[in-house]
């Protein structure tokens, strides 16, 4: 992959990110109190969370064994990876597959009731599962295909 500096637009370098604990800078007493509260909260919520807690997004399982990056990194930085790959592919013609949207879409395709992969219009679509939960509207799929290539479609000429 090309170094980041060779890209036409500057982006922040992708790293694991610095995880600053929320409790940094607090006094010891406050920290202990917060910790106890956390334990209490965990004990109280573990059992009923399934039944009546905050509903969590149902993230469909991917077809591959392992994601191209650590899931935690992916959740936080997937847009950076995609954006970087997008510029490299569009402007320079670099077509590596590791961070390409096309590969994400083929691995994370979810089959609907008709056996065909669902489009972005469906709530079950991998991207939609989180993005509709988080109320983040993405416009990638105004232009990009939200389902994998249909084999033979190109050949029907």
């Amino acid at each position: 992959m090309a170094p980041f500096s060779s890209l036409p637009r500057k982006r922040e370098p992708i790293t694991g990110g610095e995880w600053i604990p929320a409790c940094a800078g607090m006094t010891r007493k406050v920290r202990i109190a917060l910790g106890l509260l956390g334990v209490l909260f965990a004990v109280l919520t573990t059992a009923p969370a399934v039944a009546e807690g905050v509903p969590l997004p149902a993230i469909p399982k991917a077809k591959g064994e392992k994601c191209v990056e650590e899931p935690q990194l992916m959740r936080r930085y997937h847009m950076e990876f995609l954006g970087h790959q997008r510029d490299a592919t569009m402007r320079q013609g670099i077509r590596t597959t590791r961070h390409s949207l096309k590969e994400c879409i083929s691995c994370h395709a979810v089959d609907g009731t008709d056996g065909k992969p669902v489009t972005i219009k469906s709530e079950q679509h991998f991207c939609n599962a989180c993005h509709s939960y988080a109320a983040v509207r993405i416009d990638c799929f105004q232009c990009h295909a939200s389902t994998p290539e249909v084999p033979g479609r190109q050949a029907a000429r």
Partner: protein, 247 residues
């Protein structure tokens, strides 16, 4: 000089000749895959290549639209029955010489200029020329102002007025942006031919030739060197990558 010495000299000469013979096919073997092999996926497009297209108008016929339909299938282009505003990447046109009455049919698309006016006028940098000469629109930065459509002397670009669905993964295209022939850039990067050229060869009259204008060994470079070819509106000095023969 003795006979022996003469023989030795002859033997050396023959050996040297044999070496040349064995070397020559070796050179050919090296050069053929280099011309046909796709660029590795992690390598950027390079200015050592310049992709071009040569259209032989003596072979292109009025009734044939193989290139146009192949382009539509390949790039997922469909219209709404409104020819004035429906997107088109390639179209067939008829040229008529008013004095002689001679007519020529030819495909018209983005001419992939070396000095593209669409790139000059683009206010956001969305319109750009890739290192290997392919002129593209980066839809991520296109704001749909359509200056490039005004600037293009070939009417090669279209604006997408309506929502697009069911795009092909290799050919993203959508509403509110300008688009035009991209020489099937994904296919070319994979070592293939543009869809129009492939279809012209198999379903049409074999009037289109695609290749690297910078590679002196390529067929297109040799044809351009041997025959008189025309750049449309050469007076504008755009140095087009698409050339025509027979007009």
């Amino acid at each position: 000089m003795s006979n022996k010495a003469c023989d030795a000299g002859r033997r050396d000469f023959l050996k040297a000749a044999a070496a040349v013979v064995t070397l020559a096919p070796g050179v050919t073997l090296m050069s053929i895959p280099a011309a046909a092999a796709p660029r590795p996926a992690d390598q950027p497009a390079s200015a050592t290549q310049r992709w071009g297209l040569l259209v032989d108008t003596t072979r292109c016929t009025t009734d044939c639209t193989a290139c146009v339909s192949a382009c539509r299938t390949e790039n997922g282009i469909s219209g709404h029955g409104r020819p004035a505003t429906d997107p088109q990447w390639i179209r067939k046109i008829e040229l008529r010489n008013e004095t002689t009455g001679a007519t020529h049919s030819l495909p018209m698309m983005c001419q992939h200029c070396a000095n593209p006016p669409c790139v000059d006028v683009c206010p956001t940098g969305a319109s750009f020329k890739r290192a290997d000469g392919i002129v593209l629109v980066d839809r991520h930065t296109c704001i749909g102002c359509r200056y490039c459509m005004m600037a293009c002397p070939y009417k090669a670009r279209s604006f997408v007025h309506e929502d697009v669905e069911d795009q092909r993964p290799d050919v993203p295209r959508g509403v509110g942006t300008v688009e035009g022939c991209n020489l099937c850039v994904a296919r070319v990067d994979a070592g293939g031919l543009p869809a129009c050229v492939e279809s012209c060869r198999s379903n049409g009259n074999g009037a289109m030739l695609f290749g690297d204008l910078n590679d002196p060994k390529s067929e297109i470079a040799q044809r351009v060197k041997t025959y008189a070819t025309t750049q449309l509106r050469a007076d504008l000095g755009l140095d087009t990558g698409v050339r025509y023969q027979g007009i």
